[in-house]
């Protein structure tokens, strides 16, 4: 029988083929899943949770998804290099809150079970009742990290480095 960690590692690779924890911000390069221990901030369980959430929140569509651009690795570096000890502690607590709020087995649930569960959780988080602040913070970081990636910016958001002109009123067709 596989260990829980091995299950998660296999799942992450199967979901996105993403490298975990290579250089932050880089384009994904497929690396063996045994490189997961290169994590500098997240535990294996935390990394699995962040990866699963990132993939469900910003999946691969006709453009790369959050795992394709290594959002979990980016966030691991962000927390290791940018965050203060206080922020790091808070971030760990957020992940604990999310796990207990969703389900301790959330990361092993198949899409058919995970998506409805997360949708319900997400709806509650944005209901204005102040619930699940840790989830909102993580979702914000996942989203920002994705759109700060080269694929997220250029392919999904169609970010233009040099617009060269100002059009104050463009018809959407």
């Amino acid at each position: 029988m596989k260990t829980r960690r091995e299950v998660l590692q296999g799942m992450i690779v199967s979901i996105g083929g993403a490298s975990m924890l290579t250089a932050y911000g880089g384009i994904a390069a497929v690396v063996p899943s045994d490189q997961l221990q290169d994590s500098r901030f997240y535990s294996a369980d935390e990394l699995a949770l962040v990866s699963r959430l990132a993939d469900l929140i910003i999946p691969r569509t006709d453009t790369p998804g959050a795992l394709d651009v290594n959002v979990p690795g980016f966030l691991d570096s962000l927390m290791a290099d940018w965050a203060s000890a206080d922020t790091q502690k808070t971030h760990h607590e957020y992940l604990t809150q999310i796990t207990s709020g969703l389900s301790s087995s959330f990361v092993t649930l198949p899409d058919g079970a995970a998506i409805p569960l997360l949708e319900k959780f997400d709806t509650a988080a944005y209901s204005g009742r102040g619930e699940h602040s840790g989830y909102r913070a993580l979702k914000g970081l996942i989203t920002q990290a994705y759109f700060a990636s080269e694929d997220g910016a250029l392919q999904e958001q169609e970010w233009v480095a040099i617009p060269g002109r100002w059009d104050p009123c463009v018809e959407i067709t």
Binding site: Q144, E158, D167, P168, V170, E171
Partner: protein, 565 residues
């Protein structure tokens, strides 16, 4: 025989102009910059794409706590991992605030100073601004009127490149403009509704120091049209917005009359009591701690309002025991800034099938109307609003939803939102001042600054009224979801428009400078940074610093040529 004809202390917004004008008049000019050299090709980071910016371009939190504990909270939108080299480290450049007060001294020490990081909003003062002190008795009367400076605004606008529309407003005179960045469709609608409901108010395109139709002179300096990238806080390798680095310093250097020395901190200005002239400056090299003396026939102080006042106060002699050119005891006093903290935003409908392209440098401006077209106000003077009406972005992921729809929602523009924010005038008050600490010094042995600045009841009342006005205008424009946070005044200094600490005036007993930016006490000493401002008006002040610097430099060159110095 002096080392130079002129010494300009500071290479920023005003110092670049002093250097350019003096050098173009044939004077041998030395520019002393206390900071390090900026090489645009190396130090501007505007070409770094988002995915090459480490950590979402955030400075590590421990590094902020250690080095940027005033700069970062003061101007967090601009102090980033890829721009932090443009801002001072607070622990290396400490200052103190009087008990119960706060002062944000936000700055960068390098070639060009804050002309690299400024917001580029460029407005003329109007006739009412030069008459305000005389009219209501706050401060002393300006020794100049709008007619005295008008042609110098023309001069600096033409060279710098200001985009704007000609709006025919007496309180915000038109200038030598390049084409404006047009209003968005929602801004046009907002303008129409506000101007109908409030006939004395106007909504115009922001006037910004961005080239939109480069002149031959601008092209000759390697400058080109704004590329609408909104990367300005990183410097501009297109040289499209005005900065000393992009415009005035290159113009000064191509005369072969200008020398720039970096890492040169001016400790004091030397004064000769026999000739009653300044003779030169004492400098310490910030890297080696070596000291130097440079002599010149005239000296321009352009170190920025606070640093200039400090240099004067540090330059004590038997003739000037309270500091150079300070027989009036006004040096360091009347320190002003602008005040914000009254904002409103709301959604405006009717533009659901429209969006914008490009990231323009400015938005809308609502020029001052209080005590100009509307005279029912419970406060003196007034404020302008800066703002925008653009589709709401969703870059931070804070909307409900997961999966494909959530992902793709970021590519579709959200509802259009109008937002406006007031910039109010601070009254001059001699008790608002910067002084030298009696014992504490920085690592070069120079006294550190102590600030004691508070906003008055007038500023508090004004901002409360500005908030009400903002809500009323948004409601008149048909906005929904109008949201205006309670008024929360910005700290003095936070608008980074510090000025007034060596004011102009008619009477040497109550002012430091005459109407030509020349020290009353010392004919060959000029101050043309924000220190000269006799009142603050409510417009962003850099364009005025430029115009007065150019005027004073040409006046000084005339005097020198005539043998009158």
């Amino acid at each position: 025989m002096t080392d130079f004809d002129a010494i300009v202390v500071g290479s920023g917004m005003s110092g670049g102009w002093s250097a350019k004008e003096l050098a173009e008049r044939g004077l041998k000019v030395l520019v002393l910059e206390r900071g390090s050299e900026i090489v645009p090709e190396r130090d501007f980071t505007d070409q770094v794409p988002p995915w090459k910016q480490p950590n979402l371009d955030r400075i590590a939190q421990d590094e902020v706590s250690k080095h940027y504990y005033k700069q970062y909270p003061g101007v967090s939108y601009a102090v980033k991992e890829t721009t932090k080299h443009l801002w001072v480290k607070d622990d290396e450049h400490p200052y103190e605030e009087a008990e119960g007060t706060r002062y944000d001294w936000l700055r960068g020490y390098h070639t060009g100073g804050r002309s690299i990081m400024w917001a580029r909003q460029s407005y003329r003062l109007g006739p009412q601004d030069f008459e305000a002190n005389k009219l209501d008795g706050h401060g002393v009367d300006w020794p100049v009127r709008y007619e005295d400076i008008s042609k110098w605004y023309d001069h600096v606008e033409t060279f710098a490149g200001i985009s704007g529309s000609r709006d025919g407003l007496s309180q915000l005179p038109d200038g030598q403009f390049q084409p404006a960045f047009d209003l968005t469709c929602a801004e046009k609608e907002f303008k129409a509704r506000v101007e109908t409901r409030f006939p004395g108010r106007n909504v115009i395109p922001a006037r910004v120091a961005h080239i939109t139709k480069a002149t031959e002179e601008q092209k000759s300096l390697g400058r080109t049209n704004c590329q609408v990238r909104n990367r300005c806080q990183h410097g501009c390798t297109f040289k499209a917005y005005f900065s000393s680095n992009n415009a005035t310093l290159p113009a000064a250097m191509r005369t072969d009359n200008c020398t720039v020395i970096h890492n040169a901190i001016v400790k004091s200005v030397e004064y000769d009591p026999e000739t009653k002239r300044v003779t030169g400056v004492n400098v310490v090299d910030s890297k080696t701690n070596e000291t130097f003396f440079y002599s010149s026939k005239i000296i321009f102080l352009n170190a920025s309002a606070i640093a200039t006042a400090m240099i004067l106060m540090q330059s004590k002699s038997e003739a000037f025991p309270n500091g150079l050119a300070n027989s009036s005891d006004q040096v360091g006093r009347n320190l002003m800034d602008h005040v914000s903290g009254a904002n409103a935003r709301g959604l405006i409908s009717g533009f659901e099938n429209k969006t914008i392209f490009g990231r323009r440098p400015g938005g809308i401006y609502i020029p001052r109307y209080a005590n100009i077209t509307e005279n029912d106000k419970p406060y003196l003077r007034g404020f302008g609003f800066q703002g925008t009406a653009v589709p709401v972005g969703n870059g931070r992921g804070q909307t409900a939803g997961i999966g494909k729809d959530f992902k793709e929602s970021h590519g579709t523009p959200g509802p259009w939102q109008v937002g406006i924010s007031a910039f109010g005038e601070q009254l001059p008050n001699p008790n608002n001042r910067v002084t030298l600490h009696p014992s504490k010094t920085d690592k070069w042995g120079n006294p550190i600054a102590v600030f004691n600045v508070k906003f008055s009841d007038n500023e508090h009342t004004m901002l409360q009224e500005a908030r009400k006005d903002a809500i009323a205008m948004l409601e008149a424009a048909g906005c929904t979801n109008v949201n205006a946070a309670p008024v929360d005044l910005t700290a003095p200094g936070n608008r980074i428009h510090e000025m007034g600490s060596a004011r102009m005036g008619r009477d040497p007993a109550t002012s430091v400078l005459n109407g030509c930016n020349q020290a009353h006490d010392i004919p060959n000493l000029f101050v043309t940074d924000g220190a000269f401002m006799t009142s603050a008006a409510c417009q962003n002040p850099s364009l005025s610093y430029m115009a007065f610097s150019a005027r004073a430099a040409n006046y000084a060159a005339d005097l020198l040529a005539a043998g009158d110095l």
